[in-house]
Symmetry: C2
Subunit: 658 residues, 2 copies
Amino acid sequence: MNTTLLAQAANEARGLAMDAVHVCNSGHLGLPLGCAEIGAVLFGESLRYYPDAPKWLNRDRFVLSAGHGSMFLYSWLHLSGFAVSRDDVKKFRALHSITPGHPEYHETPGVEATTGPLGQGVGNAVGYALSGKRAAARFNTAEHTIFDQHVFAILGDGCLQEGVAKEAIAFAGHSGLDNLILIYDSNDVTLDAMAKVTQGEDAEQYFLSQRWDAVTIDGHDLGAIASAIETAKSAKNGRPKVIIAKTLIGKGIPEVQGTAKGHGEGGAKFIDGARAGLGLPADEHFYVSAETVAFFAEKKEASKAVFEKWQATYDAWAKANPELAAELTAGVALSVPSDLSSKIPAFAADYKDATRSAGATVINAVAKEVPQFLTGSADLFGSTKNYIKDGGDFSAENALGRNIWFGIREHAMGAICNGIAYDGLFRASGATFLVFADYLRGSIRLAALSNLPVTYIFTHDSVGVGEDGPTHQPVETVSGLRVIPNLDVIRPGDAEETAGAFAAALLRTDGPTALILTRQAIPLMNDLSVEARRDGVLRGGYIARKETGGLTTILLATGSELQYAIAAATELGDGVRVVSLPCFERFERQSAEYRESVLPKAVTKRISIEAGVTDLWWKYVGTEGKTIGIDRFGMSAPGDVVFKELGITKDSVIAAAK
Amino acid sequence: MNTTLLAQAANEARGLAMDAVHVCNSGHLGLPLGCAEIGAVLFGESLRYYPDAPKWLNRDRFVLSAGHGSMFLYSWLHLSGFAVSRDDVKKFRALHSITPGHPEYHETPGVEATTGPLGQGVGNAVGYALSGKRAAARFNTAEHTIFDQHVFAILGDGCLQEGVAKEAIAFAGHSGLDNLILIYDSNDVTLDAMAKVTQGEDAEQYFLSQRWDAVTIDGHDLGAIASAIETAKSAKNGRPKVIIAKTLIGKGIPEVQGTAKGHGEGGAKFIDGARAGLGLPADEHFYVSAETVAFFAEKKEASKAVFEKWQATYDAWAKANPELAAELTAGVALSVPSDLSSKIPAFAADYKDATRSAGATVINAVAKEVPQFLTGSADLFGSTKNYIKDGGDFSAENALGRNIWFGIREHAMGAICNGIAYDGLFRASGATFLVFADYLRGSIRLAALSNLPVTYIFTHDSVGVGEDGPTHQPVETVSGLRVIPNLDVIRPGDAEETAGAFAAALLRTDGPTALILTRQAIPLMNDLSVEARRDGVLRGGYIARKETGGLTTILLATGSELQYAIAAATELGDGVRVVSLPCFERFERQSAEYRESVLPKAVTKRISIEAGVTDLWWKYVGTEGKTIGIDRFGMSAPGDVVFKELGITKDSVIAAAK
C-alpha cells in the first residue's frame, strides 16, 4: 500500500470537501475530513470496484449511512474515476446537480443508497449483505464463483443511536452476515454537542453482545485501517464485523476539529488556513494532484483487469447455467412475467376468507412465477400469511431461504428490504400488521423516494382487527400511507382484487407498493369476472357494479367495505353505480378519459365508504358528496360488533343515499 | 413474604386469565401464565400502591410494556383491590368494557399506560422514571420527602427486539435512571416461533454495555423474584436495573407451555385440564379463594396506612411550601394560565425570521409562565431552537434540568414524552426535524389515542429546508400527521401565529399537538393585529385578509405560504379573501356558524396554497377549486430556488385565480 500517496489523496479529498462546502455555504465537513484516511484506504486499496461498470455484479458495495457526509462520497467517487466530474463536485448541492445534499440513489454513479435519515444506511447495508449471501448461495456453482463481494458501510454516532440501526445490527448478528463490515466513525461528537452528552454505551461490548466481531483502531492510521479491513474480510466466521475507528471530526481545520462545530459547515470560513495547513495550493481550489490522478488511473486499469476476468467467468457461468443466468438477468432487469396476473389461479366462486388468507394463496403462485421474489415477516408469518411454502427460511445456515424472519423489528425490515432492492438481484417484500406500518414509515418514504419496487404486505386492516382494540386497529394508516408520493397503496375488496394487487406490486418497477389486507373474511364480488376485477386493480379504480338505468348515484368503496357498497346498490336499484377504488395512485395515473368514464363529473351525488378516516375522500366525492368512515380511534370488541357500532354497514350507505 | 399464599394467588391469576380468554375466545395467555409468580410478588409484596387512590403521587408505577398480556394486569388489579371487578374481568375484550384487548390509559384504574405496540412501554417507563427523578429533585425538601417511587415495567422478547426500546434503554442508562426496574419476561418464545429463530443477543452483556445493572433469575421462584427486586430498589448507584426472569411461557397448560402456541389463545381449549392441574375448582370459573381475598384485603389496609402517612407528609409539605405545592397541583391538573397567549410578548413589527426562531422566543416566554413545562430535542437543539434558557440540562447529575438531550433517538423521544405525560406531573415536549416525525409516529399515535397533551416541535418544514434535499424535505409529513385522529397539527404562518400555536398546544389538555415550523425566514402578516392572529390560531382558521368588495374568491393557505396568498390577494384586488388555516383540527371543532363565516359555502372559487401534497385540501377547496402544492418529493438546492422551481409562489396563485 502506497501510504504516502494515500495520505496525500486523503488531504486532497479534504480539500475537495472544504471547497465544495465553501462554495454552496452549506453541507457537512465533519465526516469528509474525519474519515479522509478511511476513504483513502477504501477507495485506494480495499474496495473492489471498477468505475466504468458501477453496477458490476461482484463489486464490493459501499453505503455511506451517515449520509450528511455526502462530500466524502462525492470526493472519493471523483478521485477514483467514477462519472462524477470536477464540475459535478463544484455543483455540490446545486439545483439538478448529481451531487445533491445527501446521496441519492439513481442520481449519481457509485451511490449505492439514498442516505441521510440516520440509521437507515445500516439497515440498507444489512439488506445488501443478505442479498450478497443469497446471491452467492443461489448462483455460484462448484465451477464458477460470480458473487463473493463484501458490503461496507460507514456509520456515525448518530446512526448508532437510532433504533433502526440497532434492530438491523441484531438481525445481522443473528443471521451470520459475515460479509458485512461496518466502519464506525467514532468521533465522540454529534450534531448538537459532544457525544458524551447523549451517549454512554460501551460500543465494543454492545457489538459483542449482538454476535459481532469488534475491533477499535486509530481512524487516521492508514495501515491500521487497511489491516482491520483485511482481517474483517478474511474472517469467514459467521459474524459481521465492526471496525470502531476513533477519528477527529473535522480534522484539518484546527479551529473546529474535535468539536460539534466541526460537524457542519461551520469550519468553512477557516478553509484558507486549513488548506494551507494540508499543503493544498492557495491558488487552485478543487485541487487534485497529478500523482493522485495517476495513482487512481493505474488502479482503474488494474480494476479493469479484475472486472474483465470476472466477466469471462460470468460468461462461462451463464453459458453453463442458462436457467440460473435467466433468473439473475430477470432479477437485475426487475422483469416479471407480464401476464403475471393471469397466472394466479382463480378462486372458487364460493371462496370466503380474509384477504390475508387469499394473499397466502396468491403469494405462493407469484413465488412460483418469480423465483427472485423474497418475502419476510416481523414475527407474524402465522398472521400475515405471506410464507412461501417450500421456500425455506433464510438463516445463517441457509442463505437460499426465501422467507426472512425479521423478528419484531419492523423498521429494520423496511431498511433491509430497501437494501435488497438497492442491490436489485431479488425482489423484496415484508409483512406486519398494518398499524405497525408507522414503525417503518421512515424506510417506506425512502423506498418511495428512491424508486425501489419493495412490496409491503400489511394485514389486519381497520377495526376488523376486533378485540385487540384501538392500539391495533389502523383507521388512519391507509390514508397516512396514501399521502406519500410515489407509494402505491392497494386495498383490495375481495380475493380476486387481492390477486390483482400482488400482480400490480410485482409488475411495478419504479416504486414501492403497500398491500392492505383484512384480518376478517369477506365474500367474493362475483358479479364481475375474475379478469375484470384483477385488471380493475391494475387500473386503480373501475366500475364494480354498473347502473342498470340512468346514472344518478355513485358509491365509492375499497377493501372490506366494497361488499356493503354493492349490497346497498343492489337494494337502492337502477341508477346506482359502484366504483371500486382499491388504489388511488394507480387510478390517478390513468387517462382523463378513463377516469371520466368511471367517475363522470356530471354525477355529483357520490357517497364513499371506507373503514378509516374520511379526509382524503373529498377529492372523489366532491362538495355535494358524503363520506362514511371512521374519524376516531376504534374500540376493543369483536370486529363485526365494532363495524356496526361505528356505522360501517350497508344500511349506512342506504341511509346516506336516500 | 407468604410464599404459600402468593403461589396460590399466582395460580388463581392464571385461572382468571384462562377463563377470561376462554370466554371471549381471544387474547394472550402466554404472559399472564408465564409471569404469574412475578405478578404475585409485585402486587403481593414489592409494589407500593393503594388501590383506593390509584393516582397516589408517590405510588410505584407499573407499566406492562408487553401489553398483549393484558389479562396479567387485569387479574392482578382485580386481585389486589383496584376498581376492576370480577364482572369487569368477565367482560374481557367486550364492547365498552374497562378490560379491553390491550391496556388503555384512562379506561381502567391502575393502568398506567396504553400498551401493545411493542417497545413503547419501555420508553413510557423511562419517561415515568425521568419524571420521578425530576419530581424528587424539584419537590422534595430537606424536611419532607414526597416522591421516592420506583418505576417497574415488564417487557418481553418482542419489546426488547424493537428499536424504540433499545433507544430508550440507551437513554436511561446514560441518564442514570436508577429508579427504573425492568423485568424481562425471557421465555425464549415470540409470537411466531421460538425466539432463537430471530434473536441471538446476549441480553445480560447487552444491558451491561448500556450502563445498566443486570441479573438473571428463575422467574417462577418467588423468593428469587422478591430478592432481585429488593436488590434493585436499594441500589441507588446511578444505573437502571434489569431483572432477566427466565420463565415458561403459558405455564400451567402442559399442552402448549414453553412453545409459540402458548403465546396467544391457543391454550384456551385445554383449560379444563389445566385448571384442574393448578388445583382450581372445576365448578367455579373466575375463581378467587377466600385466602387470597383476605390476604389482599389485609394488604390494602396496610397500604392505606402507608398512604395516609404519606398524605400527612404531603399536607405538611404543602403548607410549608405553598409555591411548590401550587406548581405541583397545576401540573397534575394540566393547568396553565388561561391567558397564556397574551403573556407572550408581541414581536417587533419588522421582525422577519424563521418560525423556528420565533419559537425560541415564544417557548422561553411559555417556560416562564408554565414551570412544569419541559422540552427536549433529538440532538437538534441548535436547529430546532426550543432550548429553555436558564432551564438547565436534565442529566444523571442534574435531575432539575428542563432541557432533555434525547440523543438521535426520535422514537424513544416520543415514547419518553408519553411516559412523562402519563405521569402527569410535567408537560412534555420534544423536537426534531419535521421529516423525522416519521420515526416517532408510533408514539405520536399512542399520545393521540391516550389523550396525552404532548407537544411536538417539528422544524425544517417542506422544501424550505433547501440544500439538504428530498431526504430532509417533508412534503407529505404534515398531511400524514393531519390524518391521525385527536392530533392537532398547527402550521403557523408568521411569528405571531407561532405564539398562538404554542399557546394552543399548552392550553390543550386532551391530546397532543404538533407544531410545524420553518427553517427559513418569513415576514410578519401585520395587516391584522397580534391578538387576531393568535386568536385565529386557537380557532384553527380565520380571515387573514378580508375582501374589500363583494367576495368572489377565497385563497386558503398555511405556514410559509400565507405570505404568498396575501401578496396575491393584494394584487388581485377587491373580491379576494385570504383564509389562514393553520390547524384543520381546531377549525373543525368550531361551530358551523363560525366556519361558514370564514368559508361561506356559496363561494366556490377557492384556491389553496401549501408547500406539500394537496390531497387533503379538496375538502376545503371543493370540486370547483384548485390546489397549489407539491405532489412529489423535493430537490436539493437553496430553499428559495426550490420554491420557485416547484411553483410555490405568489404568481402561481395569481395565475390560478385568473
